[in-house]
């Protein structure tokens, strides 16, 4: 399992962050997804579009500092195809 590095990881390492990076993962329900593209627009850090506009999610955990934006992308999906799973 690859842990994302960067600000969230750094915060977690010095013990001042709310939680170490690595408690949530993004997942796409490929049957529900209709390539509206909201998620790729709202969370380009972790989601890119394939040649047909369907999302490709960066594997691994969502860094803590991106969690609010990830939640916003989840809420914005018109077909509820983007899922944020707690993975403890």
């Amino acid at each position: 399992m690859s842990y994302p590095t960067g600000p969230a990881g750094a915060r977690a390492a010095d013990g001042r962050g709310p939680r170490r990076a690595g408690s949530h993962k993004l997942r796409v329900n490929p049957i529900a997804c209709e390539a509206h593209g909201m998620c790729t627009e709202l969370l380009p850090e972790l989601i890119s579009a394939d040649p047909w506009g369907y999302p490709i999610v960066t594997p691994g955990y969502v860094p803590d500092d991106l969690l609010p934006l990830a939640r916003r992308a989840v809420t914005a999906c018109p077909t509820l195809a983007l899922l944020l799973d707690r993975d403890d």
Partner: protein, 432 residues
């Protein structure tokens, strides 16, 4: 004479001669033993039996998950009652072993269904077949089911479910969708079948050969199962293509591919490559394939798979690139069309492979094929995109020399040959 003596060595699953009546079946194998659930599941786990439908998932672990979900009780503390689905809907075009097993040893499969039903606490059992109710296979197995009902043998009756033909409808979540009154299309998991499957109940979907092995492990134990195949047991394999005697063979796992080809009478013409594991498996150059043991771990290490036990010998007279393109085109046509990356990616991959095999391949097309394969893998609800991508990649790797030849001097004359690999009902460019 004890049944144990009869069952030393091979064959285990398919008795010589025609299908056995219920009485002859019990004469050969002994009666279905009374087994407590935990004991039988423990034996299956110790035996190390893996699923024989293609994915190779440990059978004991699957049974235990369904048994636990079925016995854990709902909100009101009642036990849900699980469902057993025996999967005999053999969708791999080059495989014939499940049909053969059902026709020749129906009672062994039905024993396995009864034992699995007791082990997981099932209240309903189904047998899924790619056959209409009046087809010979349904009639034959239906007669065996009726024989058992008359004898008052099984606690739960078995209902035959006709499944529409095609590569995807027999996938386990697709079968569950069909049983729930929907179209036979794969579903997004979780919930997984063991959590919530047919009729909302914990559901065990197990290949018919796996169930037949369970019927024998229940009688003779885990150690007996492990006596063959360096502890992996035996397996049914379908050998076809350029061999003298194509057919279904029961072998001890671990037998080298070369020996299996000899069992099938040896090559019928100059061989070129071996497709192992069916269309979710992979190609191996003939010389390198000969020494590779027929087992999932060895085949995976070599770049193929055991899958549902499929081996096709490709002769020198066929073009490996054209065969790979043909099957990729077939698999693209089998997409249920539910998931964007599969519905768009597989046709694009198939078209690119066709261009590589039948046109003048260039680096750009090859790069695009590799990129598409990486792009679609893991992004569907079922494994159709992953399997197709792996098959295509394996073909491009194994037939790299041909690819260079085609690039230099155009497609070889062998591309004109009618494809050797079976793709039922398929025509080029057909899409779902």
């Amino acid at each position: 004479m004890s049944a144990m003596t009869v069952l030393a060595g091979l064959p285990r699953l398919i008795p010589p001669g025609g299908p056995l009546s219920l009485a002859d079946h019990f004469g050969r194998y002994g009666p279905v033993p009374e087994r407590d659930a935990g004991g039988l599941i423990g034996d299956i786990e110790r035996a190390g039996l893996t699923g024989r439908g293609g994915a190779g998932f440990p059978a004991g672990r699957k049974l235990r998950a369904v048994a636990q979900a079925g016995h854990s009780g709902g909100r009101l503390g009642r036990q849900a009652g699980a469902v057993v689905v025996a999967n005999g809907a053999e969708s791999e075009p080059a495989s014939a072993k499940d049909r053969m097993l059902l026709a020749r040893s129906p009672h062994l499969v039905l024993d396995g269904i009864a034992l699995a039903a007791d082990a997981v606490g099932a209240t309903r059992c189904y047998l899924a077949l790619h056959a209409g109710r009046r087809d010979e296979l349904s009639v034959q197995v239906g007669a065996a089911i009726a024989e058992r009902e008359q004898a008052g043998l099984d606690r739960v009756g078995v209902q035959i479910v006709p499944v529409p033909r095609g590569y995807v409808p027999s996938q386990e979540t697709a079968l569950i969708s069909l049983l729930n009154g929907g179209a036979p299309k794969p579903a997004f998991v979780p919930p997984r079948p063991f959590q919530k499957g047919a009729h909302g109940r914990p559901t065990l979907v197990q290949n018919v050969e796996t169930l037949a092995h369970i019927a024998l492990i229940a009688r003779f134990g885990a150690d007996w199962f492990r006596e063959l195949g360096g502890s992996a047991g035996s397996a049914l394999v379908t050998v076809s293509g350029a061999v003298q005697r194509p057919g279904v063979y029961e072998i001890a796992l671990g037998m080298p591919i070369g020996e299996l080809i000899s069992r099938a009478g040896g090559p019928a013409e100059q061989p070129q490559a071996v497709l192992a594991g069916g269309y979710f498996g992979g190609w191996l150059p003939y010389d390198r394939a000969l020494g590779v043991p027929v087992s999932d771990s060895a085949l995976r290490a070599a770049g193929a798979a055991l899958g549902p036990g499929v081996l096709v010998l490709l002769p020198e007279s066929a073009c490996g690139l054209a065969e790979t393109a043909w099957i990729t085109d077939y698999l693209a046509s089998q997409s249920a069309g539910q998931c964007g990356p599969c519905a768009n990616g597989l046709p694009a991959l198939a078209d690119t492979l066709k261009q590589l095999a039948f046109g003048k391949p260039d680096g750009r097309a090859l790069g695009w094929a590799e990129e598409l394969s990486a792009l679609v893998a893991g992004r569907g609800a079922c494994h159709l995109p992953d399997g197709t991508a792996a098959f295509a990649t394996s073909g491009l790797r194994t037939f790299a020399d041909e690819l260079r030849q085609h690039a230099l001097s155009g497609p070889c004359p062998r591309v004109q040959r009618r494809p050797l690999l079976p793709a039922p009902g398929h025509t080029w460019g057909q899409r779902s």
